[in-house]
């Protein structure tokens, strides 16, 4: 490990702080930051997944104690995400052998962070501006989209009852949702909460409490399997790096949670949106500007 120890502790701390403040996972920030400081993309992605295992364990446990987890839904999601995650790990191996993994990760991140950052930016600007004019059109739009998906879910075969989520839906929908999140976990080192949560709340209309618990539960066991496989198949989990990140973010999250009580939430969301946009722009510039160093070297044996 030839990257600066203090920088990594700081990253873990800052990302933990942000997730404590705003309540997002932060996996989608750790991986690009690691890549920026020179960690090989595959190691950054795999270690990012291992870090999420550590940071989501405590939260999952808390939600389990509170009875917020729909285990039936969780198991269907996990069946999907384990399939998608395993496929993703082998896909990563193939891409890595051809030398294209870094390119793919960069493009995925530019697109994903671009979307997440822009929507967060709009959302937070709207909240800050329109707090006087409460309500807004966002709810209506969501209802329409959600209506279509639940209608499709009712027509599909394999109907299943999910009593905890108060939902009757084809098991294919959570299964496919799981598959896509699993692939993202192994290719990007993210937990996928930023996709899972909106889909569950707005499209499947699950109770928010259950959504948070269930998505954390599936995220914990998805990243656990993906991290194990990344180590097993690709030798890509750096134990020291992951350990430092887990420690840093655990402390950061505690600080963030305590600070968030005192700080205004909408403005914090705006800050996070700006951070995400900045990371996107930096990644984009990285592939648009001619690099100083055209060659890259990595020791394989020795």
């Amino acid at each position: 490990m030839d990257v600066n120890l203090i920088t990594i502790v700081l990253f873990g701390g800052v990302v933990g702080l942000l997730s404590g403040l705003v309540g997002v996972g932060g996996g989608f920030l750790i991986t690009p930051l690691l890549i920026f400081i020179g960690v090989p993309p595959l190691v950054a992605v795999a270690t990012g997944a291992a870090q999420i295992v550590g940071t989501s364990a405590a939260g999952s446990y808390a939600h389990w104690r509170l009875g917020n987890i729909d285990f039936k839904m969780g198991v269907v999601l996990l069946l999907g995400s384990w399939t998608g995650g395993s496929a993703g790990v082998y896909l990563a191996k193939i891409l890595q052998q051809g030398g294209h993994f870094g390119n793919i990760v960069t493009f995925l991140y530019v697109v994903l962070l671009g979307i997440v950052g822009t929507s967060m930016l709009f959302e937070s600007v709207k909240t800050i501006r329109g707090r006087a004019a409460a309500g807004g059109g966002a709810g209506k739009r969501r209802k329409q989209g959600g209506g279509r998906l639940s209608a499709a879910g009712e027509r599909l075969p394999g109907q299943m009852e999910f009593p905890v989520s108060r939902l009757r839906i084809s098991f294919l929908i959570p299964l496919l949702l799981g598959v896509s999140v699993g692939v993202l976990t192994s290719l990007m080192g993210v937990g996928g909460g930023f996709i899972m949560v909106p889909v569950m709340i707005y499209m499947l209309k699950m109770p928010t409490k259950v959504v948070v618990g269930t998505s954390l539960f599936q995220l914990l066991f998805t990243t656990a399997v993906v991290a194990s496989m990344q180590a097993g198949v690709n030798h890509a989990v750096d134990p020291f790096l992951a350990l430092i990140l887990i420690l840093g973010s655990a402390f950061g999250t505690q600080w963030g949670t305590r600070l968030s009580v005192k700080l205004p939430g909408e403005k914090l969301r705006l800050v996070l949106a700006l951070v995400v946009m900045a990371v996107t722009v930096k990644m984009l510039v990285g592939i648009l500007v001619r690099p100083d160093e055209l060659y890259n070297m990595a020791v394989v044996v020795g």
């Binding site: 405590a58 180590a231 134990p239 690099p291």
Partner: protein
């Protein structure tokens, strides 16, 4: 600590100097400050000291070479508006670390043929090395390889690094970088007079990872599945414990 080293060096120099004069015929006597470099998690590089004596004035060249490495190199190329990695290739059998230290620039004291014979030009470091499974145009990868190695302080040619003390004693300090190739390091010390190598000696030292670090990285590679699962479970437990402990601390 520094003073202690200085005293030891001085003592060593006196010993080697007397050994040199006692031996008479021996032109070159050398001594290494250490026989092994231990890499721990906090390793940030180390200075290795070499000193010696020559029977008659001359120039000294010290070549340090580590065990061979296999490296992956990739190259970026332009595709439309994007600069992307255009593929990679594997290069086996490259020197992981290569230092050529001397009292004067090697080119000033040895001719080209002699330099080639003893491998004292960094540009010759990749002689006979062939990349494997190259899929794309690699460009001038040899120059890039050497440039990257120099930048990381793994390759070094310094015509001022060996200091003569008087005209019989010499010493040199090698500042080894943080992420060292492991294994045996081979030192060749040459005494040069009138454009000719008149005496040579070899020394060895070992770079090894110690204790827990070594064990963890070995296990992580050799038993990758076991490591992956064990580490994941460990991460889960650690996260759980940290979460509970820190939260409880916050409530008090």
């Amino acid at each position: 600590m520094k003073t202690l080293i200085r005293i030891l060096v001085a003592l060593g120099l006196m010993l080697t100097a007397s050994a040199a004069s006692a031996a008479g015929g021996d032109e070159l006597v050398t001594q290494l400050g250490t026989h092994h470099v231990d890499i721990t998690a906090r390793f940030t590089g180390q200075d290795v000291l070499i000193f010696g004596a020559v029977s008659q004035p001359g120039d000294v060249i010290i070549k340090v070479i580590s065990s061979d490495q296999t490296v992956d190199m990739s190259r970026k190329a332009r595709y439309g508006p994007f600069w992307l990695t255009s593929g990679k290739f594997t290069i086996p059998g490259t020197p992981g670390l290569l230092y050529v230290l001397s009292t004067k620039p090697v080119a000033d004291i040895l001719g080209k043929v002699e330099r080639k014979r003893y491998g004292l030009d960094l540009n010759d470091a990749l002689r006979g090395v062939r990349p494997e499974n190259a899929s794309t145009d690699m460009g001038d990868w040899r120059s890039a390889f050497i440039a990257l190695k120099k930048k990381g302080h793994y390759y070094l040619q310094d015509g001022n690094a060996v200091k003569m003390l008087g005209d019989r004693l010499f010493s040199a300090s090698m500042a080894l970088p943080a992420k060292l190739p492991l294994g045996g390091y081979h030192l060749e010390i040459y005494l040069v007079r009138d454009g000719r190598v008149v005496a040579e000696q070899t020394r060895e030292f070992d770079v090894r990872e110690v204790h827990a670090e070594r064990w963890v990285s070995d296990t992580a590679y050799e038993h990758s599945w076991l490591f992956g699962i064990a580490f994941t479970v460990f991460a889960m437990v650690l996260g759980l414990v940290l979460g509970i402990v820190l939260r409880r601390g916050g409530d008090d």
